[in-house]
C-alpha cells in the first residue's frame, strides 16, 4: 500500500508509549511526527500540518484539552483528532473536545491501525 502523503502526529508524554506507537505506525507504512506534550505538538503543527493527530490527554506543561483548544483557535484545518486515553469512558473524553474518535489504553495494535486508517484523510 502506498503511504499517504499526510503524516500522523503522535502526542504522548510517556516516552516508551510514544516510541511503540511510532514503531507501530512506521511499520505500517505511515509517516510519523511526534511530540511529548501540547507545547511541542503546537510547534510540530506550525512546521507541518499533519493529516491526523493521536492525542494523549494527561500531559505536563500543556495537556490534551488545552492543546485542542489552542489548536482549533489558531488553525481552521479540520485535522481529525483521535483521543488516546487510559480513562474508562473514552467516548466522554473524546466528546469533551469534540474529537473525531477515541482509543482506550491499553489498546491492541489492530485497534490503533484501524483508528488511523479510518480517520487519516486520503491525499487528494
Amino acid at each position: 500500500m502506498a503511504a499517504p502523503d499526510r503524516a500522523v502526529l503522535v502526542v504522548e508524554d510517556d516516552p516508551d508509549m510514544r516510541e511503540v506507537e511510532v514503531l507501530m505506525l512506521t511499520g505500517a507504512g505511515y509517516r510519523v511526527m511526534q511530540a511529548a506534550d501540547g507545547v511541542e505538538a503546537l510547534e510540530q503543527v506550525a512546521a507541518e500540518m499533519p493529516g491526523l493527530i493521536l492525542l494523549d490527554m494527561r500531559m505536563p506543561r500543556m495537556n490534551g484539552w488545552e492543546f485542542a483548544r489552542e489548536f482549533r483557535s489558531r488553525y481552521n484545518s479540520g485535522t481529525p483528532i483521535v483521543v488516546v486515553t487510559a480513562a474508562p469512558d473514552a467516548d466522554a473524553r473524546a466528546d469533551e473536545i469534540a474529537a473525531d474518535g477515541c482509543l482506550s489504553k491499553p489498546f491492541r495494535m489492530a485497534a490503533l491501525l484501524e483508528a488511523v486508517r479510518r480517520h487519516l484523510p486520503r491525499s487528494v
Partner: protein
C-alpha cells in the same frame, strides 16, 4: 442638690413625644373609671409595677444622675438604690453617650457596667419624660447575656460547619483527581507492555521458537488480565467515592447478551454457552457497564463449573423490566455462604482451585451497577447442583413510571 419633687407617673408611650406628667395618663376608659373611683390607685399600680418589674428601670435627671431606680436595676447592676442616686448614665452606660441615644426605640447593642466592673449586654429602651422642672430620661433594660451566648455559639457552630464543608469538598476534589491520576498511572505501563508484545507478535521476519511464541501469547493475555484487575480496583474506588457514573444509550439487552455470549464462548472449550432471547428487551442503559455485569456472571458460571457443561443465558421482558438469567450446573454456593455473596471482597469458595482468582469484587460491582440502573440482582443456588444469577433493568420508558433510580 436636687430638691425632692413629686413626680406624677405617666404612661410611657413609644416615640419621642414629651409627656405631660401633671395629669395621670390613662390607656383606656376602664382605667379612667377605676382611677376616678379610686384616686391614688394609679399611683399604687404604677409604683407596684415599678418595684416589682423584672425590667431594670433607671430614671436619669437633668444633672446627669439617677433620680430613681427599681430593685431590678439594683440586681442588674449590683448597686443599691442609694448608690445609684450618686451615679448617672455616664458611669453606667458603655458605648455611645446616652444624650445622643435615639429616644423610644429598643437597642440591643448597649452594655451597662456593673458595680464589679463587669459589662453586661442589655436590650434597652430610653424614653423622655417632661417633668414640671426638667426632662427626665427613663431607661428600661434587661440582661441579654444568654442571648449573646447563644448567638456566639451559633456563629461558632456555623463557622465549624462551613470549614467542614470546605474540607469535604476539597477531599472530594482530591479523590476525583486521584482517581484520574491512578487510572492513568496504572494503565500506561500495561499499555506499553501490551503494545510492544503485539508489535513483536506482528513481526513475521523470522521463525519464532516455541518458547517465544508462547511467551508472546502469555504476555498479551496477562496484560489483559492485569487491565481487568486494575479496572475492577478503580471501579471499587469510584464507587466508594460516589463517582461511578453511567453513560446511557438506548440499547437492546438481547443484542448485548448475544455479543457477550459469543465473546465468552471463545474463552472456553469445556462449556457450551446457550442463549435464549425471548424479547429484544430495549433498555436505556450503559452498554459498557451491563457488558461488565454479563461478563461477571458468565465468568463466574464458567469458573465455578470446572467440569464443563451447559450454561444457559435467557433474556426476557417481564412486568416492565428486562430480565437476564445465567444458569450453570456447577458447584453451587454453600447455604452458609449465600447471604454475603454480594459483599465487597467476599469469596464464596476461598482457597478453591479456580483459575484467575480475581479480587472478589465482581458481584459487589455488578450489584452496584444494576442498582444504579434502577434494577435488582438476585440468585438461587444449591450446593453441588449449580446456580442461577439474574438481574433486571427497567425497560426503556418504564423507568420513569416505576420511579427507578436515575
Amino acid at each position: 442638690m436636687i430638691a425632692p419633687v413629686a413626680y406624677h407617673w405617666a404612661h410611657c408611650a413609644p416615640g419621642p413625644a414629651k409627656i405631660d406628667v401633671r395629669g395621670v395618663g390613662t390607656a383606656s376608659d376602664e382605667q379612667d373609671n377605676l382611677l376616678q373611683r379610686f384616686p391614688g390607685i394609679g399611683d399604687t399600680v404604677l409604683r407596684t409595677f415599678f418595684t416589682g418589674s423584672r425590667e431594670a428601670i433607671l430614671v436619669a435627671g437633668p444633672f446627669g444622675r439617677y433620680v430613681a431606680s427599681n430593685p431590678a436595676a439594683s440586681e442588674l447592676l449590683g448597686y443599691t438604690a442609694e448608690e445609684l442616686r450618686l451615679l448617672g448614665p455616664a458611669d453606667v452606660v458603655l458605648g455611645e453617650p446616652a444624650a445622643t441615644d435615639p429616644i423610644g426605640i429598643w437597642r440591643n447593642d448597649l452594655e451597662l457596667r456593673r458595680k464589679d466592673g463587669v459589662p453586661v449586654p442589655v436590650e434597652a429602651r430610653v424614653t423622655a419624660l417632661q417633668g414640671p422642672l426638667a426632662v427626665l430620661s427613663v431607661m428600661t433594660a434587661h440582661d441579654i447575656s444568654d442571648r449573646r451566648n447563644v448567638e456566639r455559639e451559633n456563629a461558632a457552630l456555623l463557622e465549624r460547619e462551613r470549614a467542614a464543608l470546605a474540607a469535604a469538598e476539597a477531599a472530594s476534589r482530591a479523590g476525583a483527581e486521584f482517581l484520574a491520576a491512578a487510572a492513568h498511572e496504572l494503565k500506561t505501563p500495561v499499555a506499553v507492555i501490551k503494545a510492544y508484545v503485539e508489535l513483536l507478535a506482528s513481526q513475521e521476519t523470522r521463525e519464532r521458537s516455541t518458547v517465544e511464541a508462547r511467551a508472546l501469547t502469555a504476555l498479551n493475555s496477562q496484560c489483559d488480565r492485569l487491565t481487568d484487575l486494575v479496572e475492577n480496583l478503580l471501579d471499587v474506588l469510584r464507587l466508594s467515592l460516589g463517582r461511578l457514573y453511567l453513560e446511557r444509550h438506548h440499547i437492546s439487552l438481547g443484542a448485548l447478551a448475544a455479543e457477550v455470549v459469543a465473546r465468552m464462548q471463545g474463552l472456553t472449550t469445556k462449556h457450551r454457552l446457550l442463549l435464549d432471547v425471548a424479547d429484544p428487551a430495549e433498555v436505556d442503559a450503559d452498554p459498557r457497564r451491563l457488558d461488565q455485569v454479563l461478563v461477571n456472571l458468565l465468568g463466574n458460571a464458567i469458573k465455578f463449573s470446572p467440569q464443563g457443561g451447559e450454561i444457559r443465558v435467557t433474556v426476557a421482558a417481564w412486568d416492565g423490566a428486562a430480565v437476564v438469567s445465567v444458569e450453570d450446573a456447577g458447584v453451587g454456593i454453600p447455604a452458609t455462604r449465600q447471604a454475603q455473596i454480594f459483599d465487597q471482597f467476599y469469596k464464596a469458595h476461598p482457597g478453591a482451585a479456580v483459575v484467575y482468582e480475581g479480587l472478589g469484587v465482581g458481584l459487589f460491582l455488578s450489584r452496584a451497577l444494576v442498582q444504579e440502573h434502577g434494577g435488582t440482582i438476585w440468585f438461587t443456588s444449591v450446593e453441588g447442583e449449580g446456580s442461577t444469577f439474574s438481574f433486571s433493568v427497567p425497560l426503556a420508558g418504564a423507568e420513569a413510571a416505576n420511579g427507578g433510580a436515575g
